[in-house]
């Protein structure tokens, strides 16, 4: 670990010695100096998601939180260009005033961290690349980034992409930056594709009997021309009273039987097409004689907010796992998780949020093996206080680790930016 060094630049530092550069030139000056002095820095935004990833061991902390504000919003061009640490809330507010939105539905990690909303900044969000429930239909965060500007580990200001959706000029570095946890560049500017907000939404809940039936429904839903924009399975967990109590409270809606297992799917659009799609889906899913519940827009919208706030795992003290697998293996995973772990399934059967209530990391190791065997991966999003990082929190194979090391080297040869945040030695 490097020792504290003295920085010549006149960059504001608070009483905790955190640097607050105010623009990209100051970020560049600071990193250039740290590069010369071989002194790494942790890069943070509003600290809403800094608990995700390994703890960086660096002498300095750089907060980009002063680099905030909307630069250029063109509703008719479907893009918004913002300074990197603009709060997601601010972006969503201005988009909403123009009936637009970030289609990838940002997850609010504030609830699992502190029990209250804190969506953080767009730079933090892009650095994690964790999209919400609409992902299987509209793509992830990386699919909505048109371009960026930032500072690499040598202090050079670099850019990639632009404001247009069709652009094949040079390597697509926006993709590489998404999910890089601030280890490649300190972001200063981000351009996002935005999309029109749908007029309305309706959610239909079904109460299936077994995992095969659940996955059969997921499969039919994702194979339908009547497009859905969300599908979750919330299992009943009768063996954990605290969790089932929490679950029943979170999903307490007038028209939902929240005390039993349910699958819920969302249809968005104008009212006529929602009705048409739901009627089509009822036929395709053979639901006409089944027990179903319909949540109107006033229940549907808060329902999906609760899903994307991960509210059932509010303030969890346990390890929280995010596992993504091809959906065809989902029912097997559900069977394994049943009575062992608290969990729920999103992305029409692909994304599992799993709480691992154990001091032993062995259980996480087993889950990681299953994720690999199923052709997916897992990330330990939140660790319990006993977690000793013996089991790496990301999933990576040897070849990808080797290439990741080379890519890191090409942006940040001295490992100045968030060293070790993702992988040891990277």
């Amino acid at each position: 670990m490097s020792t504290k060094i003295k920085i010549n630049s006149q960059i504001f530092q608070d009483s905790n010695n955190v640097y607050y550069p105010k623009d990209e030139v100051e970020v560049s000056d600071l990193i250039r100096e740290l590069y010369k002095k071989d002194s790494p820095t942790e890069i943070i935004g509003n600290n809403s998601k800094s608990f995700i990833g390994n703890k960086t061991q660096s002498a300095n902390t750089t907060s980009l939180s002063k680099i905030s504000g909307i630069i250029d919003y063109r509703p008719e061009e479907l893009y918004i260009k913002v300074k990197a640490c603009t709060p997601i809330n601010e972006i969503e507010k201005i988009l909403s005033e123009n009936s637009q939105e970030l289609a990838f539905e940002p997850i609010d990690f504030g609830y699992i961290k502190d029990g209250k909303s804190n969506k953080g900044t767009i730079a933090g969000y892009l650095s994690c690349n964790y999209a919400g429930s609409r992902r299987f239909k509209v793509g992830s965060v990386r699919d909505h980034v048109l371009g960026f500007k930032g500072v690499n580990g040598k202090g050079d200001i670099i850019k990639s992409g632009g404001t247009v959706v069709k652009n094949v000029t040079g390597y697509d570095l926006s993709k590489l930056i998404a999910g890089s946890f601030g280890t490649l560049v300190a972001l200063t500017e981000i351009t996002l594709k935005v999309l029109p907000k749908k007029d309305s939404s309706t959610t239909v809940a079904i109460y299936p009997n077994n995992f095969e039936q659940i996955y059969d429904l997921f499969n039919k839903l994702s194979s339908s021309s009547s497009e859905i924009s969300g599908a979750v399975f919330i299992p009943e967990q009768s063996n954990d009273k605290d969790f089932s109590g929490k679950r029943n409270t979170v999903f307490k809606f007038n028209d939902l039987q929240s005390n039993v297992s349910f699958l819920a799917f969302r249809v968005e659009g104008d009212k006529i097409s929602i009705e048409e799609k739901i009627n089509n889906l009822k036929k395709e899913l053979k639901l006409n004689n089944s027990d179903i519940s319909t949540l109107d827009v006033y229940q549907s919208e808060p329902f999906w907010e609760k899903i994307n706030n991960l509210e059932v795992f509010e303030k969890t003290k346990h390890n929280l796992i995010r596992m993504v697998i091809p959906p065809a293996n989902g029912s097997k995973l559900c069977k394994y998780l049943e009575n062992n772990h608290n969990y729920f399934v999103d992305w029409c059967g692909s994304l599992f949020w799993i709480e691992v209530n154990s001091k032993k990391e062995e259980k996480i190791k087993n889950l990681k093996k299953m994720a690999n065997d199923f052709g997916g991966y897992l990330t330990v999003i939140k660790t319990s206080s006993e977690y000793d990082y013996g089991e790496p929190i990301f999933t990576v194979d040897k070849v990808r680790l080797m290439i990741s090391r080379k890519v890191k080297q090409s942006f940040d040869p001295k490992r100045i930016l968030n060293p070790g945040k993702m992988y040891r030695g990277v």
Binding site: R74, E76, E77, L78, S99, Q100, N129, R135, R142, D143, D156, I157, I158, K159, S160, G162, T163, V164, V165, K166, N167, V168, T169, G170, Y171, D172, L173, S174, K175, L176, S180, L184, L195, S222, S223, S225, E227, D270, I272, S273, E276, N280, V324, I325, P326, P327, A328, S350, G375, G376, Y377, T379, V399, R400, I403, S404, K406, V407, S410, F411
Partner: protein
């Protein structure tokens, strides 16, 4: 045509040709190695046929292990390698080099797995784009990106170029529609990025490879996402009395919250050219023609059509026709898809440009192009993917007239610079290749280019894989670029180009 600068030829490699061919014949079936002049001729160029180079040899491996062994050998012997898919690229990305092996993926032509449960197809890279849709359409699925050359272009080439198509505003380009790739690095290392699940964790290496124009690795397997075919697809054909009114209508459609499946604009010159060529029945009195395609469920499409009609009427459209059958919808597209050959029929040669601009700048861009057309005294016709801002001006000229050729090059370069000035980019979907290499500095400064070169160096330290492409080697913004077609002899004249 200007002299093309290429990497310095390594004569020691040329002198070792016999030995190299012999070694390659041991790494794959000897029938897969071509080295005689007449065998090499078909590989001398891709669809940017104005440039030709004879490769040292062509090798057509049959599996990933062979690709790996060949690359490992070339790496250890410092032999350059140019990868090639179907050779339909318009920017010269697969142009051979005299001292390089041309690595053709044509034998990788099988679909390996169709997985409806996970909504994906695992395929070898030599399978055509349309071949994937053909394999799944009987179950009501399709592969979304649809570059105009989809009948012939390979999915591996689509990954290399990050190909788009007319539906990319709503459905994205290749990068948004693939789940995983298997790739071989220049040193022979076989790697896998992604798979059948969404969003690989860690650095998005698949995202980096997609659109890297064959500079970072050779893709040997692709897993693509398939989508359910929409229930209803309808198109509207709308004529406008002025560029401004048509451009405003297109902008208003987007800003009203409609995301059309496709939205195309043609100017008067192109309306006349295509209507003469394909008898598409376009409104010839219109200054600008807008084709809007909408998809979804029946009532959804009806509602969208109602909104589009209202917007177009408000913007003084002079004609409006809706498709009432699949046959009629395809007839609306017939003229648009014949845009390139239609221009070829009007002049001995044409250049096709490929810039992107913000949608709202269309009228400004077209007026600027009109002024340039008058300045250079060369006719131009314009088509525009209005949904995603991709502009394809087609400059008509006579290549036998050296002065016209010079003026065309200058004209084209000025158009791309105009695109950048209006907030756009120099290539929307054709790639940089050798064609727009020297224009990269219109968009990027030294830092930006150095960062990209640094990535290249980290994954191909000896710069052996497809050298001389994408990044400027002249260190000046040269006046190069564009697709040059002589006497309508496009390399693939039967392919619709849009």
């Amino acid at each position: 045509m200007s002299e093309l600068a290429l990497p310095k030829i390594d004569n020691s490699i040329l002198n070792r040709k016999i030995e190299i061919v012999k070694k390659l014949s041991k790494l794959t079936d000897k029938e897969n190695v071509l080295s005689e002049a007449d065998e090499l001729r078909p590989y001398e160029t891709d669809a940017l046929s104005v440039y030709t180079q004879t490769p040292l040899a062509v090798v057509l491996p049959e599996n990933t292990d062979e690709v790996s062994e060949i690359l490992k050998y070339c790496y250890s012997e410092n032999i350059k390698v140019v990868p090639r898919g179907a050779g339909t690229g318009l920017s010269g990305g697969a142009l051979p080099l005299q001292d390089a092996i041309l690595l053709g993926l044509g034998k990788f032509n099988k679909i390996l797995e169709i997985d409806y449960e996970n909504k994906c197809v695992v395929t070898q890279p030599g399978v055509t784009n349309l071949g994937i849709t053909h394999a799944v359409q009987h179950k009501g699925f399709y592969y979304a990106p649809d570059p105009s050359s989809q009948l012939a272009c390979s999915i591996g080439g689509n990954v290399a170029e990050n190909s788009g198509g007319v539906h990319s505003l709503k459905y994205g380009t290749t990068t948004n529609n693939i789940l995983g790739v298997q790739m071989v690095m220049m040193d022979g290392t076989i790697c896998r990025f992604g798979g059948k699940s969404f969003d690989q964790e860690g650095y998005d290496l698949m995202g980096l490879i997609c659109g890297s124009e064959g500079l970072l690795g050779v893709v040997t397997e692709v897993t693509v996402k398939i989508l359910k075919t929409p229930e209803v697809v309808r198109a509207a054909l709308i004529g406008f009395p002025s560029i401004k009114e048509g451009g405003d209508a297109a902008s208003e459609i987007i800003s009203s919250g409609i995301v059309p499946a496709g939205m195309e604009i043609m100017d008067k010159a192109l309306i006349e050219a295509t209507d003469n060529f394909s008898k598409a029945g376009y409104p010839r009195d219109a200054e600008l023609l807008l084709i809007v395609e909408l998809d979804g469920t029946k009532s959804e499409v009806n509602e969208l059509i109602r909104k589009v009609e209202a917007i177009c009427k408000k913007n003084n459209c002079s004609s409006l026709k809706l498709s009432n059958s699949e046959k009629e919808r395809l007839s609306f597209w017939a003229g648009r898809k014949a845009a390139f050959p239609a221009c070829g029929a009007m002049a001995p040669d044409y250049y096709c440009m490929d810039g992107s601009i913000p949608r709202g700048k269309l009228a400004e861009a077209l007026l600027e192009i009109k002024k340039l057309s008058e300045k250079y005294e060369l006719p131009v016709a314009n088509c525009f993917h209005a949904g995603d801002g991709n502009l394809h001006p087609l400059i008509m000229f006579d290549g036998n007239d050296k002065e016209q050729l010079r003026k065309t090059e200058e004209f084209g370069s000025e158009i791309l610079k105009t695109c950048v000035r209006l907030g756009g980019v120099i290539t929307g979907e054709h790639g940089v290749g050798i064609e727009k290499r020297e224009l990269m500095c219109e968009m990027f400064n030294d830092n930006d280019i150095q960062q990209q070169l640094s990535i290249k160096k980290s994954l191909d330290e000896k710069n052996l894989l497809n050298p001389g492409k994408v990044y400027p080697i002249l260190r000046k913004c040269a006046e190069e670029g564009r697709v040059h077609v002589h006497k309508n002899k496009d390399k693939f004249p039967d392919l619709p180009r849009f």
